[in-house]
Symmetry: C2
Subunit: 573 residues, 2 copies
Amino acid sequence: MEYKRVGVLGGGQLGRMLAQSASLLTIPISILDVGHSPAKHVVHPSTSAHIDGRFSDPEKILELARQVDVLTVEIEHVDVAALERAQKETGVSVHPAPSTIRTIQDKFLQKQHLISHGIPVAESVAVDSNEEALRAQCTRFGLPLMLKSRTLAYDGRGNFVLRSAEQASEALQALKDRPLYAERWAPFTKEIAVMVVRSRSGQVLSYPAVETVHKENVCHLVFAPLRSADPAIAERARKVAEDAVRTFEGAGVFGVEMFLMPDGSILVNEIAPRPHNSGHYTIESCHTSQYTNHLLAILGLPLGSPALKVPSAAMLNILGVSASFTPIAELVNVALTVQGATVHLYGKAESRKGRKMGHITIVGSSDAEVRSRLRPLLAALPPDPQNSTYVPPEQTPGFSSPHPLVGIIMGSDSDLPTMLPAARVLDQFGVPYELTIVSAHRTTERMTLYAKGAASRGLRAVIAGAGGAAHLPGMVAAMTPLPVIGVPVRGSALDGVDSMWSIVQMPRGVPVATVAINNSTNAALLAIRIIGAGMPSLLQKMEKYMQDMEAEVMGKAAKLEEVGWEKYEVKKH
Amino acid sequence: MEYKRVGVLGGGQLGRMLAQSASLLTIPISILDVGHSPAKHVVHPSTSAHIDGRFSDPEKILELARQVDVLTVEIEHVDVAALERAQKETGVSVHPAPSTIRTIQDKFLQKQHLISHGIPVAESVAVDSNEEALRAQCTRFGLPLMLKSRTLAYDGRGNFVLRSAEQASEALQALKDRPLYAERWAPFTKEIAVMVVRSRSGQVLSYPAVETVHKENVCHLVFAPLRSADPAIAERARKVAEDAVRTFEGAGVFGVEMFLMPDGSILVNEIAPRPHNSGHYTIESCHTSQYTNHLLAILGLPLGSPALKVPSAAMLNILGVSASFTPIAELVNVALTVQGATVHLYGKAESRKGRKMGHITIVGSSDAEVRSRLRPLLAALPPDPQNSTYVPPEQTPGFSSPHPLVGIIMGSDSDLPTMLPAARVLDQFGVPYELTIVSAHRTTERMTLYAKGAASRGLRAVIAGAGGAAHLPGMVAAMTPLPVIGVPVRGSALDGVDSMWSIVQMPRGVPVATVAINNSTNAALLAIRIIGAGMPSLLQKMEKYMQDMEAEVMGKAAKLEEVGWEKYEVKKH
């Protein structure tokens, strides 16, 4: 197997993970960076000669270009003219295109480029680096005002939030003499991201939309896939990201960071022309990682599938706390005890506060499981009240789980006593659920929103109880692709037979899984069997439950033999 | 982060994959092997000094021992005395224990050791290396007789199957002058394997049981997890493997190869004291790969979870066809187009017929999906009629899939017309299924076996149709943890109401998901929703189906408006 040789400008963690992926296919790779940088650790120099030097040094770039077939970058802050010269003098392919890197590395040029291609972004305008211009801009865009350095900005360095026009001088000092631009404040509800891969022939594939959580402007957590009550948002985010990447030249992976706005619209925040922190999770969670796909793309090989192969994943950055490695070691030691956690350390020689030293990917069979696995990791970090927003405590008895797999709904609060046994069974099995009132006839809009958003919020089954002309289960089933379990609730007349026929006799096309009248216990057991069909550990719990039932009846039979039927007392449930 | 340094005897593919895993945690690793072997490619020598030499050379072993904290092996054919000397002279930890390697590297000693610890193995006896002794043994054990070299045997080298006593001289020539032993022939139905990891403190965890397929004595395919109509077999295999590994000293991963016998019993065939070909699939398919767990075990760190994180996986070895790399490149080029496939190439400098050059892991959301992804890969190999046994063609209309997710059963062939629409819907959605007759009242034993084996065979839902005193759905539900969907079939009297109540009014503890009378269409749609709850691509298909239904009705409404209701013709289904 002889693949073309890849040269990478930059030998940090992104270069390292590229090199690790390259080793799977024996793609030869050469790293340009100063000294024995992390990416060089995982490649024997006899396989690929590395170059010792700054990735911004035109001579070193030329030297690298001469020994490889394809040049790529792990950072966009490179000398584009040097790349172009190397391309011209050596004939090396450069991916993504130098023109793309030039546009992207100047954030204001990037914004203008996106605007000119109809990609939604926050309104932006270049501003002069003086107090008067800044104050005037505060008046035009209102407060707070996002002020950004056009160049050499990453991980929030180069951003300044003006909360009053008085901060103009402070802002200028913080951002030094760099060229600036101002952005109209985007009061987003969530930060989201999509990794997009573009082949040399222009094919564009996107990874699932994810939620990103930043802390002091640095990526802290990533959750995949994005959950949302509006089922259209995840696809809309992918479309915006794909459209944005289509406007650039050259192959490779692009990280598209976006804002989700309160009205459900999406704004592109910024784009990275390379693998990205928000895509680390893909190594353990997707069919093809962002790193492998970047290599496949720039080498002109077929792109791999970006689909998730696990139901849920999260990524936690391991950031330096100080010069000491002890806090990192402590976090890693916890991670090694967490099922589904995979630790990546980057081999950096020194730790600094805020420096990216590694990351931990956590995968699981549900969002709730992933969060519960994340909890001990966050507990090992310095306390942060924000953490409980993203990883709330376990379900409290009597209150809905923030990451439910089952929704229990009922047409009326009078159905609650009938439906409570379902909640008890789910508690017993440790299956996260929510419980609420949704009436088909009295809250039709609520029912529609509930049904349409059930799958995209991460539910896997809905249990709906209703009595009389019981329409709730069938109407919900008509608006969700999820399995809906109907519990006919016995009313004051007809012994529940009315509810039964109303629920079970659904027309062809829309099924409701109907259980016995008033038997919400069986509804919950059915929901567990449904979820268990894709979760072997839950099926095992169901087998145990069935064995326990058998043992209970066997015990009663023994008791009956022992005391005789004249003395046997039948216990009521 | 400062981990202890690991030294590995042997720098082939197993050492390479150990080194790749070590790089995730920045565990320093040094490889002892001749020249620039595959494992050395992925480790920069400044991170870990490699040693150039034979892993059987006592002086080189000593040199390696002096520079590392823990010594391990990627092959059991090492000089145990040299390991013991290195342990004594340098104080290095050796895992697994040299005594373990000594016992295992002599296959007959290994067998005797297992027998003495009550582990089930094929009856074995040492035989002298002469024709007379062999012929006598043929008489004692019967034919065919498995003759094995006690030492230096792997990948079937060192095995000879005597089909007649006349082959004695041929066998002696083939096996040269090595010490031999004979095994009573084990007429197994399947070859299976379990990877077991043992910590330094003696904790033992096992990976899922897998099916292995050998071709000319070399591992060809691995399927995970093992499917079987007997739900006890997979757990039994893990228990036998764990028990076997508990009899050995020292930490690390052990590959336990076993025979599944026609009566469901299990015999240990042989044990490898190291990561094993049958565990390659764990890299992409399990929470913690066999390589990471081997490192964690020998370093005394907490073991990772061996659980599968995907529903189904397979592994295909890439074997050399000749000295040419072209056939390998052709296979890899196909693999790059297959969703869920991950290619591992080992970077071996030369190809030879039968040499392990790499492997491909395929993961998917079901066995059927994994097999369909495997099909183009096998088609890219030299033709082999055996392949269709393991990867049969897609489902033929009218016949059951070999890897069904849904079982459609009915109490009587007279129910077939009622149940056929379910089959049509599953066809339409591309969900693999089986269809057969199982009667609760006339074939109780068949029903019991069917229900008890449904989950372990890989089914995720059962659709059961029955009429009158309809017991089939409820009885099956009582014997499987899977969701069971009941279709009340209308009989000659009572309009199906009898069937309905018989199916839906199940007692607390055993739910049946009941659909409308005769509505097997909805039963299939419900099965798809159930499976789709853990398979997002299937939920998308269901959403599309629901949109199509809506469009169909909208079209009818438009037609009604267009032609008027006097002329509108209602089409029968």
